[in-house]
Amino acid sequence: VSHPERAARFAADRDRARWHDQALWFVRTRRDAAAAAVPEWEELRGRAAAIKRHTLDHLADYLETFEANARAHGARVHWARDAAEHNAIVRRLLSERGVTRVVKSKSMLTEEVGLNDHLARHGIEVIDTDLGERIVQLRREPPSHIVLPAIHLRRGEVGELFERELGTPAGLDDPEALTRAARRHLRPGFLAAQAGITGVNFAVAETGAVVVCTNEGNADLGTRLPPLHIASMGIEKVIPRQADLPVFLRLLARSATGQALTTYTAHFRGPRPGGELHIVLVDNGRSALRSRAAYRRSLSCIRCGACLNTCPVYRRSGGHSYESAISGPIGSILEPARDPARHASLPFACTLCGSCSDVCPVQIDLHRQLAALRAELVERDLAPGPGRWAWRVLTGWLRRPAAVVALGALGRAWLRFAPGWIRYRPSRGWSDWREWPEPPQQSFRQRFAQRERRRAAGGEGAP
């Protein structure tokens, strides 16, 4: 099933689609206000982009430096080439210690590699502790947004879910009461957990520190109570210096939600007293992506979600229409770059408006990469729908002046005389929500010829 079909399903619920659109646009306006309050905002974006570009160019060195410094703090560092190896490492760490109950804070990487399912198959229960992630986990569906995992749901649906799963009273739909219920439900999970899994926002090569940002405090609770902390990170998360942290932290929360900083910005240097910290460095296609110049900069992404919130297509189609761990503009690059056959429809969902590139805090040229991906998919004959042949037909048509004249005349006649139910038939999909324009009386050629005749006669229209 392609993106347009899934998007149509989401858009069919017009109230929900409208609410979704406006809720995310509101987040975008908060981002604008937060960015405007920082005079050096553009300077920070430029620095962040330059730091990431430099780091990606020297990634092997920085990873080795990070590994050495993290080890000096008492952390253990593991390397995983792909999803299977990552999941095997995590499962082995848990199994060796007899762990069956794990709490996990938000980590797009563990979504990407399907960690929860893998651990569940081996009898290890993973509780997602971010409220939005817990909601979608209880619904047995993936997050629909990288920062706001349950943004596709209305409060009534969360109320029904909690009534069924947590035993809250029927009809409860107040966000505050539902959040309290989730807190009561999750607290025992934290206290009973034998291990905590987190993602990583930034890993500082110079000091070996790992930084994890949350608003709920769930990463702190999940790692400071149990004796085992496993932090999974993509290899692109490393940054060179401690002095680079403020550049990214000043951009991250402002771009994500419009907050000046996340509530909890935790800096782990080694395990908690008496505990263990294991850091898993995951490649899973990243080194391959880095070697492709056109898409390399997509590895600079800090997962703020600003490109999702601003995207006119994402806002109206919902995260699940992308059928990928990471949705929206950045997901439409990362996923097809990894698996072009499966995600070929995503780059074609883009309108190339470029708004994503304008808000990206690390200046990723998202819309250019999406255009490059389209070209590549067309060349590889993977483009969905008419894209596969439409350009060849168009090229053939534009090469033949007589054909252009003929089809133009036919088109004008069609728009003028065909009744509505026939007129809109060939353009269904596109014209479901749009009117065709009023057809002009004459073609350009006819007008031009007329003008030339008038000029020859010395009448009006002469220069």
């Binding site: 987040v27 920082v38 050096e40 430099h54 959040t179 608003n215 405090g217 509530t263 800096h267």
Partner: protein
């Protein structure tokens, strides 16, 4: 094995190992400013903290800090509290108030720490641009003492307020093992219909008190 194969794959695209520093086509930019400045950094901090759901007070002298903490104890009707000795608040709670101040040994137990209604921690310094306070886990009786109690008070030296995170990281040393955290207001979430709810998993309130005129 995976380590070597990942590093080899990366180095293939990096023009050989150990590129000469400074010779890079993509140099690492400098870390210096100029960065944002505020006429009154502490006032700006207080505005940003309020926006993050926290509250702030100023206390002149050790007695005033103690009075601020006692007022929070009454406000939350806290019965079980813990106070970091680093704050110097030895006399809190004063009198027979029915409030139990747990000692470090008692709070080392997770169940006891989780039952705390109020904890008072020593904050190292505040950041004006975002309302955050840097808290270093030194001498903590429990690793999660910043996130388990219902309510938090952070005592911050009255002259310790930097304008932005850039100056903040000049004061932080991440080279030694340990744990440190920026706390910007109480725990919060907006995961249900984007409605902001204070008190997700961690503290349900956070108050910062400037400790002015205290050695």
């Amino acid at each position: 094995v995976s380590r070597r194969s990942i590093l080899r794959a990366l180095r293939r695209g990096e023009g050989g190992p150990r590129t000469v520093p400074g010779a890079s086509a993509s140099p690492l930019p400098g870390a210096e400013g100029p960065w944002q400045r505020f006429d009154d950094p502490k006032a700006h901090f207080e505005v940003m903290l309020a926006a993050a759901g926290g509250t702030c007070g100023r206390a002149s002298g050790a007695d005033a800090v103690a009075a601020f903490v006692e007022a929070r104890v009454r406000e939350f009707q806290a019965r079980r509290i813990w106070i970091d000795a680093a704050t110097g608040l030895d006399g809190v709670p004063s009198g027979a108030s029915g409030v139990v101040r747990f000692d470090d040994a008692a709070v080392a137990d997770t169940a006891a720490a989780a039952a705390l209604e109020l904890a008072v921690l020593a904050g190292a310094f505040a950041v004006a641009e975002n309302g955050a306070v840097w808290v270093e886990a030194s001498g903590w009786p429990h690793p999660g003492i910043h996130v388990l109690p219902e309510h938090l008070v952070l005592v911050v030296p009255g002259d310790a307020c930097v304008p932005t995170l850039h100056e903040a990281y000049e004061r932080i040393d991440l080279r030694a093992p340990g744990f440190g955290v920026f706390l910007a207001g109480p725990s919060k979430t907006a995961d249900i219909e984007q409605a902001l709810v204070i008190g997700a998993h961690g503290a349900r309130s956070l108050a910062v008190v400037w400790s002015e005129g205290v050695d």
